[in-house]
Amino acid sequence: MSLMKNTLDILKSGSFDVAESDYKKCGYHLEVKLTESQVRDFAQAMLDCGFYIDFVSAVHVTPCFQVVYQFAHFDEACRINAKAMANAQGEIPTICDIYHGANWHERETHDFYGVVFTGHADLRTLLLSEEDADLKPLLKHADKLVNVETITRKSGGDAEMKPVKKTKEEQTAAE
C-alpha cells in the first residue's frame, strides 16, 4: 500500500483534488477531479510515478463533456480514475505526447463524442469511416441528457441497487 500512499502524497502536493475511494464499490482506489488546465500536469505526474494508461473516454452530460482518464500501476494494485470537465467548446488539452497510447483513445473519443483534444496532431477518424465523421454516435438526445450531478456517486449513499418497481403514479399513468 506504500505506492498508493506515495502517489496520494505526490498528487496532494501537486494541488490536485484527490480522494481515496472504496475499491470494493467502484473499482478504483483513488479518484481525482481535474480542471481543464491541470490535465497535462496530472498526466506527467502519473508518468513520473510509473503508471500506465488504461483508457481515456468521455461522458456526455450537461454542461459539457466529462472526460475520464484511468491509470493503473504494474507493480501494485493502484487504479486511479481522473475526471475533467471539457470547456464550453468541448475542448480539452491532449495528453498523447505524454502517454502515446492516449493517441488512439483520444481519436476514438473524438469520433464518438466530438471532444476536441487541443494539441493533438492527428484527429482523423479512427473507428468510424470518414463519411460518418460528423455522426458523433454517442451524443445523447436532449431528453436523455442529464446533468453531471446525476451521474456522480453520492458520497455515503446506499450502494444497493434499487429494484425496479413502478410507483403508483407511474402505474396509473401507464393505464
Binding site: K24, K25, C26, G27, Y28, L47, G50, F51, Y52, I53, D54, F55, S57, V59, H60, V68, Q70, A72, F74, D75, E76, A77, R79, N81, I98, Y99, H100, G101, N103, W104, F112, D122, R124, T125, L126, L127, L128, S129, E130, P137, L138, V146, T150, I151, T152, R153, K154, G157, D158, A159, E160, M161, K162, P163, V164
Partner: protein
C-alpha cells in the same frame, strides 16, 4: 477508419504499400498502410474500424441484461473473460454476492477459454512465420476444450454463459471427467509444441530480437497481457487486483526477459501450464451449492464503477456510468489489443516487412475486439 493516410510521400525512393484489409498476416480486417523503402517499412499507419459495430452505443440503448450476448462477440477467441468482466461489473455496482460454486465454475471455464485462445494465438503466430502444421495441432487440442465447453454453455465460440449472480447452468460429472482427461492429455502435448516450434532454429532466428517492447514503452501505450509480460514485468490482474476466486489458487506469472517476439510467444506457452494448474486446483476444491443467486432486475445506481479482468490478451476494463435507470448511461469497453496494437508504429518503424509480420503476429491480435 480513415481513407486518408498521413504519409505525404515526396521521396521518390519510397512508396506506399497497402497491407490489408484482406491480408493473411493481419488476422482479419485490419489494414496497415506502410511507407516502404525497398523492403523496409519506414512509416506505419494502422487503419481500424472495418469491423466496427458500435458496441458502446448498443450498451446505452438497452437495459443492462440485454448486453450479455454482446460481451461474447468482441473477442470471439477468448470470450469468457469478456462475459466475466461485464457480469462482475454489474455485481460490483449492485453489491450482489455470488455463490462460491459459481465463482469456481467461472474460473474453470475462463481458464479453459484462455488455453483455447492461447493455442489459437500460438498456432496463428507460427503460421505467420510460414509453418503451416502447428496450427492444426493446436486446433486438435482446442477442439477438446470447445467440445467440453459446448456441453455446458451451449456455444463453441461466442459464449454467453455468465449471469449476474452466478452462471447459467451447473457443470456435471461428464464435464469434470472430460476436463481432467484433457488436462492429463494436454500436459503430454506441451513438450511436443516445444519440440516442434520453440526449439526450431529457423523459428528462433525469426523471432529473437524482433519487435522489442521495453517496460517504458508498455507504460506509455498501456500494453498488457503476454505482450507486456514478455518484457519481464509480472503484471496480471488475476494477481494484482484479484477478482472472483483467483486468490484461492496457487499459480505463477511467467515472464520473459528481452521483450522480443520470442519472449511473448514463450510466455503464452508457459501460461498454458499455469492455466492447467488453476483448473486442476479449482476442480479439486470445487464446493457444492447453488450456481445462481436469485436473479433480480434492478436499476443501476447513480455514479461510476469500473471492473478489470485479465483476458487472454491483456487487461479488459469495463467502465460504467449509471444515472439511476436500468439502462447504462455510458459503458466504456477498454480492450487489450487496442492498446497493444497502438504501439506497433513505435515498435516496428524501420523494420523489414518480414520482421513486421513476425512482430505484429506476436501481439496476438483479434481485430473484432479492437474494432468493437
Amino acid at each position: 477508419m480513415s481513407t486518408m493516410t498521413k504519409f505525404e510521400t515526396t521521396d521518390k525512393h519510397r512508396f506506399l504499400l497497402n497491407m490489408g484489409p484482406q491480408h493473411p498476416a493481419t488476422h482479419g480486417v485490419l489494414r496497415v498502410i506502410l511507407e516502404m523503402d525497398g523492403e523496409y517499412a519506414m512509416g506505419i499507419d494502422p487503419v481500424l474500424g472495418y469491423g466496427h459495430r458500435m458496441q458502446e452505443k448498443m450498451a446505452e440503448s438497452r437495459t443492462w441484461p440485454g448486453f450479455y450476448p454482446n460481451t461474447g462477440r468482441m473477442d470471439y477467441v477468448g470470450a469468457m473473460p469478456f462475459n466475466h468482466g461485464y457480469v462482475a461489473l454489474i455485481e460490483r455496482m449492485a453489491g450482489i454476492e455470488v455463490p462460491e460454486r459459481a465463482e469456481y465454475i467461472r474460473v474453470i471455464t475462463s481458464e479453459m477459454n484462455r488455453i483455447a485462445s492461447h493455442l489459437l494465438g500460438i498456432g496463428a503466430y507460427v503460421l505467420d512465420l510460414g509453418a503451416f502444421t502447428p496450427i492444426l495441432y493446436a486446433f486438435d487440442d482446442r477442439e477438446d476444450i470447445l467440445d467440453a465447453l459446448e456441453d455446458i454453455t451451449g456455444s463453441r465460440l461466442t459464449y454467453c454463459y455468465y449471469r449476474v449472480g452466478g452462471v447459467l447452468k451447473d457443470i456435471d460429472d461428464t464435464f469434470i471427467k472430460r476436463t481432467r482427461a484433457f488436462i492429463e492429455n494436454f500436459r503430454k502435448r506441451i513438450p511436443m509444441y516445444n519440440d516442434l516450434v520453440t526449439g526450431n532454429v529457423i523459428f528462433i532466428k525469426r523471432t529473437e530480437g524482433v519487435g522489442i517492447i521495453t517496460a517504458d514503452m508498455a507504460r506509455r501505450y498501456g500494453a498488457t497481457g503476454p505482450t507486456l509480460r514478455g518484457s519481464g514485468i509480472a503484471y496480471d490482474i488475476r494477481k494484482s487486483e484479484p477478482y472472483s476466486v483467483y486468490s484461492h489458487f496457487d499459480f505463477d506469472i511467467p515472464t520473459g526477459k528481452n521483450g522480443d517476439s520470442l519472449d511473448r510467444y514463450y510466455v503464452r506457452i508457459c501460461e498454458l501450464e499455469q492455466s492447467l494448474r488453476i483448473i486442476e486446483q479449482a476442480l479439486d476444491k470445487l464446493p457444492d451449492g447453488p450456481v445462481l443467486a436469485k436473479p433480480k432486475r434492478a436499476k443501476l445506481q447513480e455514479g461510476d464503477c469500473s471492473f478489470s479482468v485479465e483476458t487472454a490478451r491483456g487487461v479488459l476494463t469495463y467502465y460504467l456510468v449509471g444515472d439511476g435507470s436500468e439502462v447504462p448511461y455510458k459503458l466504456k469497453i477498454r480492450v487489450p489489443s487496442y492498446s497493444n496494437l497502438s504501439l506497433l508504429e513505435e515498435m516496428c518503424t524501420g523494420m523489414l516487412i518480414a520482421d513486421l509480420v513476425s512482430a505484429m503476429g506476436s501481439l496476438d491480435l483479434v481485430i473484432p475486439e479492437i474494432d468493437r
